[in-house]
Symmetry: C2
Subunit: 254 residues, 2 copies
Amino acid sequence: MKIKIADYPTLNKEWDKKETEEKTKKILKRIGKLQNKMYAQNKFSILVVLQGIDASGKDGITKGLLKYCNPLGVKIASFKKPTENEYAHDFLWRVHQVVPRKGELQIFIRSHYEDILVPTVEKYIPSEVIEKRYEVINDFENLLESNGTKVLKFFLNVSKEVQKERLMERIEVKEKHWKHKDGDWDTREKFDEYLGVYERIINTCNRCPWHIVPSDTNWQKLYYVAEVVLNTLEDLDLKWPGLVTEKFRDQIKK
Amino acid sequence: MKIKIADYPTLNKEWDKKETEEKTKKILKRIGKLQNKMYAQNKFSILVVLQGIDASGKDGITKGLLKYCNPLGVKIASFKKPTENEYAHDFLWRVHQVVPRKGELQIFIRSHYEDILVPTVEKYIPSEVIEKRYEVINDFENLLESNGTKVLKFFLNVSKEVQKERLMERIEVKEKHWKHKDGDWDTREKFDEYLGVYERIINTCNRCPWHIVPSDTNWQKLYYVAEVVLNTLEDLDLKWPGLVTEKFRDQIKK
C-alpha cells in the first residue's frame, strides 16, 4: 500500500514531554554502550541517513544521537552541492567513499537522495536519467547491507509553519545568523513539490525501509530516531572479541 | 634550556580528585560552547596532537574532550601502520589529507611523530633520512599555523608501572581483550629508548610547543589537556558571523 506523508504527524500530541525526555536519555546511554561494543567487535556497521527539508533538524539529531557514543567509532558526512570533480563522476561516487567501515556508526546529513530531489524539482537533469537513480540506489543500499551495514533512513517530517519559525530564527537570533541562506526561502516556495518527490522516494527506494519522524519538536524527533537506532543495535549479534595472542596463550578462555 | 621528561610528573600528588573533576566538567562545557562558535565562524581551527606510548590513554582523552562538542565540527584521525600506498609517498602525505578544515577541532591519535619514533627505535630507515624529518615537521606545522590552525601537541607521560597495569587489564578483562596486541609488550621493552626519542622531538620540533601531561590517572590527564584546549579557544578571536543576505537586507544590524 502506498505510503502518504500527509498521513504521518509532524507532532505527536499524546506524548508527554518530560516522560519522553527521560526515556530518550536512557535510550541514548544504551546506544552509547552498544555502539562502543559494535566498534570493538569490528564486524557490523550502521548508516543513519537523515533527510528532510531545510531546518527540519538534521544537525540537532546528529548531536543528540551521539551524546554518549565513543567518538572514535563515529563518522559524519554532510553532503553539499557537488564539486566540479564530483559532478564528473556518477552520483554515488562521492557517497561510496564515505560509507561506514566495519564497526562504525555513520551519519549522513543529506545523502544520495538529494541527487533525485534537487534535479527533479529544479529540472536540470533529464527525467529518464533521474528515473534510473531510484533503481541504482536500491542496488547500492543492498550492496552495503550485504556487507554487514544496516541502512536506516529517516525522513524528518516538519510542518510548513514550524519550518518558517525556524528559518525566521536564523534571521532574528545573532547566534543563528550563520545558518541563514537566502536560498532556503526559495526552496521553501517549492515545499509541496519536494514533498511529492519524497513520497515517491519513500515508496520506491524501500528495500531498506524509511521512517517518517514527527519533527516539529526536537525532543520528539530525537526520541523517535534514537529508538530505531537502539532497536537496530539490540538486534545485531554484538559480541566482545576474544583475546588474540600468542604470548599469553594460557590466558585464553575456552 | 633542554626539557627532560624525567623532570615532569606522571602523577600530580597535590591535586584533589573530586575538585579537579568538577573543574574539568566546567571546562569541558565551556569548550563545547566555544567549539560550536569556532565551527560557526568558519575561520580558525585547532589540531590536537596526542602522542604517548601504548595505553597512555589517547582514546580516553579524545572521548572526554569532545563530550560537549558539536560533532559536526569535530574530526578524528587515528594513524596506524602506513599502507603500501601511503609508504609510496612522503610521510606527511597522508597526514596533510586529514588536517582540520576551517572551523574544525581535529584530534590526531598518534601522528607524523610516529614517523620519527618508530624508525629511530626499530632502525629501518637511514638516520640521515629520519634527521630531515625534524625540520620538515617544523615547517609543516608552521604551514598549518599560517593558515589559522592552532597546533597543540601533548605527550601523555605515563609511568612504566601504570602502563603495565593497563596492558594487563587488556588480558584480564573481557571487555578490553580487543585492545590487546602482543606487539605492545615488545614495544614496552624499548620503553626507555622511545622516551629518549620523545625527548629529542620535544626539544627539536618545538616551533609549536609541547605539553607534557601527567597521565597515570584519567582525571588528571583530561583536566590538563582540557585546560590547554580551553585557553587556546579563549585566545582565538571568535565571533558569531553576521547575517549574509540580499532578501532580508533591512534586518542586517549595523
